[in-house]
Each structure stands twice: as C-alpha cells, then as structure tokens.
Amino acid sequence: MKHTLEMKNIVKRFPGVLANNNVNFTVQAGEIHALLGENGAGKSTLMQILYGFHAMDSGEILIDGERVHLGSPKDAIALGIGMVHQEFMLVRRFSVVENTVLGLRERGALLDLPRASEKLKDLSNRHGLALDPAAEVGSLPIGVQQRVEILKLLYRDARLLILDEPTAVLTPQEKDQLFAVLRKLREDGRSVVLVTHKLNEIMEIADRVTVMRDGQVVATRTIGSTSGQELTRLMVGREVNLRADKSNQKPGAPVLQIENLRVQDETGHEKVRGLSLEVHAGEILGIAGVDGNGQSELAGAILHLREIQSGRVLLNGADVTRLSVAQHRSAGISYVPADRRHVGSVTEMSVADNAILGLQRKYTRGLFRGIREARESALGLVARFGIRTTGIDFAAGKLSGGNLQKLILGREIMRGSAALVVEHPTRGLDVGAVEAVWGELLRARQEGKAILLISAELEELLNLADRIAVMFEGRIMGVVDAAGASVEEIGFMMAGITPGSAPPAAGPAQEARHHENL
C-alpha cells in the first residue's frame, strides 16, 4: 500500500507576511509525522492549505504522485484528508453519532442513525476508541470529545489525519491513550500529522519530524537520528536552556489566604467548591489541573471579578473578599489573566496606554492624566522587560504574543503588589518567550512576592513552583512539594483520583513518592 502526500514549493503570503516560503513537506503512508515550530513559524498555515482553508499562492500538492486541487475542506475530505482542530468542532447538545454524520448525506434526505451507530461501534472497536454512540457530546470529558473528532474522520475514511496541538487539553493519562490510538492508526496504514511544539511528545511518538522556522522548512529528521536539543536549536535558531534555575529560599509569612471559597460560573454551576489555599511570601504555589476544573473561576474570584458565594480571601491577614476589583488592586493583588488579548490588554490602544491599564488613577495631575509620567513608565517597562516593539505608540494588539505577555506581566509586577495571580502565562508562547516569562516570575519570587501560578503545563509547574496543588472539579485533590513530585501522581490527581485510592503503582502520596523526570 502506497499512499503519500507531497507538498511542493508551497508559497503563501498574507498582507505584510510571507507565511510559507517554498515549503516542501512529505508524509508517507503509515507514519506519524510531527510538524514542529514556534508560533508564527507557518505550520498552521501549511496545514490549513492542506485542509483547503487557504488557497496557496503557488506550489503544488500531490497525493500518490497525482496533482490534486484543494479548494475547500470538502475537497480535502473527499481526498481522505481530515483535521482535528485545537478547538473542537462539535455540537455539544448532539449525541456522538449525530455529530459524526453531521454534514454527511449518505442516503440523501434520509437520516439513518441506527445504521450509522453500528458503523461507528464497529470503527471504535477496531481502533480501540471506546465510545458510546448515543452519549451527548457536551457531557463527555475533553479527552473523549477528542476521540469523537478522530472517529468523525475515520467514519469518513480519512487516510491522513492532521491533529493540531492535540495534547494541550489532556491529562497525562489521556495523552497516553491518545498516543495508543495514534499507534493503532499507524499500524492500519494511515498517516498522522502532529502539529505541536512539545518536544518530548515528538520524541515519544513520531517517526519523522519536520521543523519550520520563519515560514521555511529548516530540516526533516527521522526521530532516531535526532535529539530534543537539536530540534530545539533548529526550531529557535539558537541554543535555549529551558530549565529554570530556581534559587533556594525559605518562604515567608502567608500573604494570600483562601478559605473555603465557593464560586459559581455564569450558568449557575458551582465551579469552585469549598477550596482553601495559602500562598506565602517568596513562594510560587502552582495550581495544576485540566482546563475547566474551576481554575479560571478561582482566579476571577480572588480579584472579585466574579461573584463569590461563600468563603473568604485574606491578604496579609486582612479580609478583602468583598472589596471591589479596584480596591483589590490597590490593596496589593495583581493579576495576569489567561486571555491576554481580550482581558489583559486593550489591543486597539497603544503600548503606552496599555502600560497604565488599571493604574489610570495613579498617573494623574489634578483632574488630568499625567501623560508624561505614564509614558515614562511605559518606556521603563519596555526597557526593563525587553519588550520588542517599534515604539510605545504602537498598537498593543500588533505585538507578538510573547511581547504582549511581557507587557502585561511587567505592568502587574511593577505595581509592587504583595500577591500575584498568574493564569496560563506561557500558553501559546514560543520557547524564547517562555524562557523570558519564567525568568520574570522567578525574579518576582525572589523579590518576595506571593505568586499563585495556574497552569495546565506540568513542565512549567515542576520547573517554577515550590508546591503544586492539583485542582479537580473545584476542589484541591492534594498539595505536593514540586521538588519531589512525580508526573504520574499529579496526573492521577488531575483525573480526580485521590492519592489514597490510586492504583498501587502511584502509592499514597505521603509515603512513597516517585522521583521521575519529564
């Protein structure tokens, strides 16, 4: 069986940007091919061309040596190319089978769900994707929803599956299951393109890897002939040391205390359920957990951006639970929200105006804004945090994700607050920017700030945090010392399995602790 995809000399230009510059990319039948690159390297663009979302400016695509035209995702599906997007394209209120046949017209106007269910069951058994066709998609865990997406493609008999950052939302165990499925697909002779920037995953599962940088392919390697270090160097274009050097220091007095907090989301579901935490001065307390287990509600509630049902938030011993957001900020809690473009900054406004967001009442002269002082502080921020921008009058929305994050982080650190709540600080950032953000967080820790770090990246938490609290369905499953924590143990807690009831391999958290490196 020979089924290969070749993309030759692909050029794609967006206004002002050359996203793909003469890209050559080949996938063979029955291989897992990783596509690696920093944000903006052009890997998403390449995949979107392959899936028919974008038209290329020049170049050609061949399948089994034959030139094909991909004008829309429909063409791609007809040719056996399927894509699982980072954001799942599922109708939450529909059942699995309804989602699967969505858009298909197997029998004209007739919808034969029982037959589709049979076919689906058959498929899921063959590929080891346990799934109930009648289940409502919205009620399924994220990892299972991802399976639905993969099944959707198999139902359409996709020969080439593109997975865009598939592990970003999974627990370590779910990730292992996904990889098992991918291996089965490979045995089946199907090809998988894995778009990612996680090196360890590539080393674990891929057969070959293509590295992109600045819109060009830098190298294609077989996994056996390369190393993580080489790939990083190829991806970034220089040596990067992604191990944070954390100084040893004794945490001080408790600064931020959360007692028995209960918070609901917009729909009235309780997302934080009686949670208590304590963050000390000069300490980073990490919050691990799969997205959607109440982490963002917790962060919002600390600042009182969300209604608090019950419980207390104490700052240096003083009750700040019911204070307004502005009062929280002046009392000394800073916050770096997860969504830097829609919450943390006003993208339409200049860097200078964003540098004083939340501080506009501080930089005043009588009734008027102290515009000169504000600009000076913006210049200071740009210099101190190494923000790459053409000037402080530049629109903040045009900064790259990393530079925008540095601006927000810098602004919140420079406020001089005692406590800092940071949510997903490096999500979507490339390695260079991650390095910078980590450095700044550690510097803030050294200055004695109490930092609550919410992250879905275990690697980040293990590198930065002093202690890691694992959050599951609004509760803390357990708190472990980052120095002696094992990925497995945290992973089980992320999945809602308490240390005591975990399988023997993990052992009770207090007694036997696995020392395992990433």
Partner: protein, 344 residues
C-alpha cells in the same frame, strides 16, 4: 462626486454650475455662511454626543429624542421668563447657564434611562434608544398642542422672549452664538477623552469591557455616564436650536438632525477635533442644496445622495484599507523577511 455629477446631468443642469452653487452659496456669501453656521451648531453638538457614547461602547441612536426634550425644557424655562409670566425677565447671563443646564439635563436623563436599562438589565441600546425617539417626539407633540400651545392654529409655543435669544454674532446674518457653544463643547469632549482618566476609562470600556472590568473599572457606571453625557450634548443641541434659530418650540423642530449628527460623527471618524469642520461642510452643503434647488431647479435630495455617498465611501475605505489586490503567480522571487507576527 463624479457619480453625483451624472445625476445633475440627468436633470439637464451643468454639473459645474450645480457644484458651484452648492459650495458658493454657503462658503462664498456672507448670508449663506451665516445659515451654514446656524445648521452647524446643533449638528456638531449631536456629533459630539455620538462620539462620547460610541467610543464608550454605547451605540446610542436616540439623539432626536434628546434634541426635542432639550428644546422643550429650554423653551419652558424661557417662557417662564417672559414678561408677565410666573418668574418674569431674568438677565441673560443668569438665564443662559440655567438654559444650558436644563437642556443638558433633559437630554442627559433621557439617554441615561436607556443607559440604565442597558447597564442594569442588559437591554439592547440600539433598539431601545431608537424607540425612545418616538416617545420623546410624542411628548413634544403633546406639549406643543396641549399645555404649551400658543393661541392660534399651529401646534407651537409663543415666540420666546427676546431676552432669552442667543446673540447674533455676524452682522447681517442669522449666525448666532450657538456655534461658540459647539466649539467649546468640542474642546471639552476632546479634553475628556484625551486628557482625563475618566475619558481613558470610557474608551477602554468601549474597546473592551472585559479588560475594563479586569482593570478595576465600574463598567456599568462608565456606560451610564457616557449615556448621560451623550444625551446631554443632544439636549444642548436642542437648546441651541430653540434659543438661537427657531425662537419657539414647535412640532417637527428636529427635522432629522439627531440622525444627521451621527453621520457627521462617523465622517469625522469619531474624532472630536474634526467634528466642527465636518459639520460645517455638511451644514453648508445642505444650505447650498437649498440654493441649488431655487436656482438650478435641481431637487435638494440630490445633495442628500451626495452626502450619503460620502458616508459610504468613508466607511468603505475603512474596509478597503485591509485589502490589497493580489495577482496570483506574480510573487517576487526573493520574498522579504517574514515579520515577527504571523496569524496563527
């Protein structure tokens, strides 16, 4: 402009002649310029109101209502000072601030109600403000045909006492001091939005309410305030019109100025500094259109078409700026280096 030239031709008139009249009348003759200024004042004030509300993210469209209520409140106050009325004559320097306050408050409270619905109940301000216009216009009709009606056949009030009129500022024309009020208001709005922390907060709220909340701003209060200021400026437009130009309250006094003012604001790209010139051009064109109708026998609605085309072009340019014509297959051999940010 070229498009409209053909429309002129279809009426058998020389486009040159028509355009000459259109601009010569308001900007070439003193009398016409005076009229242009008269129309500019309320237009600018409403455009300024639009800027305040729209830049704060409050899509208010109820300026007709604010205008007539501002005019009504001012007229009521002015009639109180008529000789023989309950209060009697009041010196102008006391009356004017009071009139401004009344007009501003009438419009401001009216728009503030819409703001309150939006901020507290989450209603749609576009719909509610649009509907509120009709309510206000019916209130006006009730006033001029009921309690405030002057003896006579027309639904209008008595002529306001001469002591309450805005002074004329250009001898031999109808131009009144309203334009000075408009210029002062433009300065104040510019100062608010550019120079004051409150204005900064309003703009942040307008761009991104989530970021505003995150930064500790009270979004509901900012919206309410924006609505009050915007409506106030709309009410002030009514004050200026009734004290400067009409000198009495009557049915149909607004004549659509509440909507044209929004158009002016859009043409000025929501920039308070550009409002006065834009309104002058717009007001001037409508004066010229009337003259054109008299002389060249071309319907003044042609000018309206011209004005509408201008708005469409300004708005279309916004969209066009983001597109560039691409010729497939003509990409240069040596492409420029890739910029830092690529849409992911």
């Amino acid at each position: 402009m070229f498009v409209t030239a053909f429309l002129f031709l279809s009426y058998g008139a020389s486009p040159w002649q028509a355009y000459f009249t259109l601009f010569h009348e308001p900007f070439g003759t003193l009398r016409g310029f005076g009229y242009a200024l008269v129309r500019t004042s309320p237009l600018s004030l409403i455009a300024l109101g639009t800027i305040v509300s729209w830049r704060s993210g409050f899509a208010y469209l109820g300026f007709e209502g604010c205008f007539v209520l501002g005019a009504s409140a001012t007229s009521w106050l002015a009639l109180l000072t008529a000789p023989g009325a309950r209060v009697g004559p009041v010196p102008f320097f006391i009356f004017l601030p009071l009139a401004i306050l009344f007009g501003f408050a009438a419009g401001g409270v009216w728009a503030g109600l819409v703001g309150l619905v939006r901020a507290r109940l989450g209603g749609n301000e576009v719909l509610i403000s649009l509907m509120s216009n009709y309510v206000a216009i019916f209130i006006l009709q009730y006033l001029v045909s009921g309690p405030m009606r002057a003896p006579g056949s027309l639904p209008e009030t008595r002529l306001l006492p001469r002591t309450t009129w805005l002074p004329f500022i250009l001898p031999g024309t109808r131009a009144h001091a309203g334009i000075l009020i408009a210029i002062a208001a433009a300065g104040l709005v510019w100062m608010l939005l550019q120079k004051m922390p409150l204005g900064y907060e309003m703009i942040v709220t307008g761009f991104n309410a989530a970021a505003a909340r995150y930064a500790g701003m009270d979004v509901a209060r900012r919206i309410l305030l924006a609505a009050f200021f915007a409506g106030g400026l709309g009410g002030l437009a009514g004050t200026v019109e009734v004290l400067g130009s009409q000198h009495r309250l009557m049915d149909g006094i607004s004549g659509g100025v509440g909507f044209v003012g929004i158009v002016v604001a859009l043409l000025a790209r929501l920039n308070p500094v550009a409002v006065i010139p834009t309104a002058l051009l717009y007001g001037g064109m409508s004066v010229g259109a009337d003259a054109m109708q008299r002389r060249a026998n071309i319907p003044s609605s042609i000018t309206f078409i011209l004005q509408s085309l201008a708005v469409l072009l300004v708005l279309a340019f916004d969209a066009l700026r983001y597109y560039k014509i691409n010729f497939p297959g003509f990409s240069p051999r040596t492409p420029p280096p890739v910029a830092d940010e690529v849409s992911k």
